[in-house]
Amino acid sequence: MADMFEKLVFKQEDIISFKDGIPGFEKFHSFVVVTLTEHAPFEWLVCTEDTSLRFVIINPLAIDPGYNPDITKTQLEGLGFNSADDVLIYVIVTLRTNLLESTANFVGPLFINKKKMVGRQIVVDSEKYSVQEPVIKNSR
């Protein structure tokens, strides 16, 4: 089976620049969000420098409408947010062999400025959330 992102076509303006990379993958800086309606609410964050590097992502509010991590202005420094409308928030999903046990990392939300196309994974230093929040909670 051909890899679905092997021949990924994207526009230059779709590239989101992660200046610091993503912890664990600091060498990679350019990513695109790939959305397929049939996979909603899940989306992909694919590295354009090496498309084999990819993450499943989701808007955390879809899992927990009350998601409200403590984030300081300092942590968002450099992302150049001028308006709340510019903010896109995702969390990275870890798929498990048993998909029902899949989790999302609520401690490391991705903040993206969709106007400036820059992003960063923020480290939330609080006990409120886990790096492994269940995704399909009610199915257990």
Binding site: G78, V107, I136, S139
Partner: protein, 79 residues
């Protein structure tokens, strides 16, 4: 590693603009105050390591189809 002994209330300075002060001592716990420029991001080491490890686990997804989990999600929603 450079090891320095500090008493309660004493500080160390890193470069020109980072200052770390021992704010409180309680048995095996030390509470540290960090003064650093806005662009310097400070967090506890283990939190960063946990995120790194979780990112690496999440990146193991290769040829997966999100179709199955999207279906599970829909079923969860209708419950």
């Amino acid at each position: 590693m450079l090891v320095l002994t500090r008493k309660l209330g004493e500080s160390i300075r890193i470069g020109d603009d980072i200052k770390i002060t021992v704010v409180e001592l309680d048995g095996r716990h030390a509470k540290l105050g960090v003064e650093a420029p806005k662009q310097v991001i400070v967090h506890r080491e283990e939190v960063y390591e946990r995120i790194q490890a979780e990112n690496k686990a999440a990146a193991l997804v290769q040829k997966v189809d999100l179709h199955d989990i999207a279906e599970m999600w829909k079923q969860r929603k209708t419950k």
